[in-house]
Amino acid sequence: MIAFCIGQIYAGQLALAADAAMLPDWSGVWERVEGNGGIFDPSTVEPVDGRAGSPGVRQYPPLTEAWETKYQAMLEVVAQGRVPDPISICGTPAGFPRLLALPDVYEFIVRPEQTWIITENGPNIMRIYTDGREHPPESELWPTFTGDSVGRWDGQALTFSTVSMLGENGTVLDRSGLVLSDKASITTRMFKTEDGLLRAELTIKDPIALSEPWHVVRHFRKTPDGTRAFDYACAENNRNPITPSGQTLTLDAEGNTIDIEIDQDN
């Protein structure tokens, strides 16, 4: 009996080893290709090469009428320099899908049973289960920053489904103020292209915020061999606290506010 069990475990290890040998090499340190000042969907940004957070810069997802109105209201806030970006308070992760559009570098850790996306900025850790499990039942799900992701390997491509994200209740997609609802679901297909880029194709569905599926593509390029990723501790020396009105203040080296103009309603 004991020999049988050991044999089963050994066979399982062999199966995992075989799976591992078939997985793609996504090792190393990567950086996003589409910069665009952090705009989430660079294919529709206007003006072209506009930076998220700059007045008048926006993208054009297929928003429902109500959420287009919501987005325009956010753009007005951006125009006033009061963009509500949760990560500016140095306390919460960027969440998915925004974590595919962050500055600094990325690591993609591929194992047979899981893939981890680690972003230096934040940091953010996204876990994608590929061991055959399904999403938990609704009674065991609650909205989180990265949601719940399960997927499968199709040759050298990873396809995964993500549900149960926070949406507008704690995340934005970028500094233009775009948000989704907590009913959004995303199917992502990731694979390495012939020119060595890592390509992520997202199909985003949201019965509340989107009138039709929204397709977004983002790429990552590998940095030179030997590149290191480092700690990112946002609260280490954050000299730019955010006021209740959304104003970004600046502190001097002693921690005193040096801004001359401060919102009256703070």
């Binding site: 963009v83 500094r175 946002c234 955010i242 080296a253």
Partner: protein
């Protein structure tokens, strides 16, 4: 010993119509860059007081002589140390006492801070966009 030089006569403020080429790329940082006037570049000679090699942004504390010959401390904000390291910056890139030329986008409200653009050291070497 900190060496201060009279920089009042060297201080120039350049108003540029095309600014993004030289502006600080703080828009990819952890906070909004709206407080910086990206249409204005201040170029001054300054003395480094302190270099804070910290997340989420590095800070260069510099002493600048104002037009009334008074010494003022200014806080110049850069990007994060991680990305800057990969661009060649090091924790000792600025050493207290160094006299440097520095360019930055000033705060819109005139407070003593700015977004780093570039610097030139006494030996002629440069860092950032110079």
């Amino acid at each position: 010993m900190t060496h201060l030089i009279d920089i009042a006569k060297l201080k120039t403020v350049l108003f540029l119509s095309v600014v993004f080429l030289f502006s600080a790329d703080i828009s990819t940082a952890h906070h909004s860059s709206v407080m910086f006037d990206k249409a204005t570049i201040v170029a001054v000679t300054a003395t480094v007081k302190e270099f804070q090699w910290t997340n989420p942004h590095v800070w260069i504390q510099v002493i600048i002589k104002n037009d009334d010959d008074e010494m003022e401390e200014w806080s110049i904000e850069g990007l994060g140390p991680n990305s800057l390291f990969r661009k060649g910056w090091r924790p000792n890139s600025f050493i207290p006492g160094d006299v440097i030329e520095i360019k930055f986008n000033p705060m819109r409200d005139g407070s003593r801070a700015g977004g780093f653009i570039g610097a030139r050291f006494a030996d002629g070497s440069t860092i950032g966009n110079w």
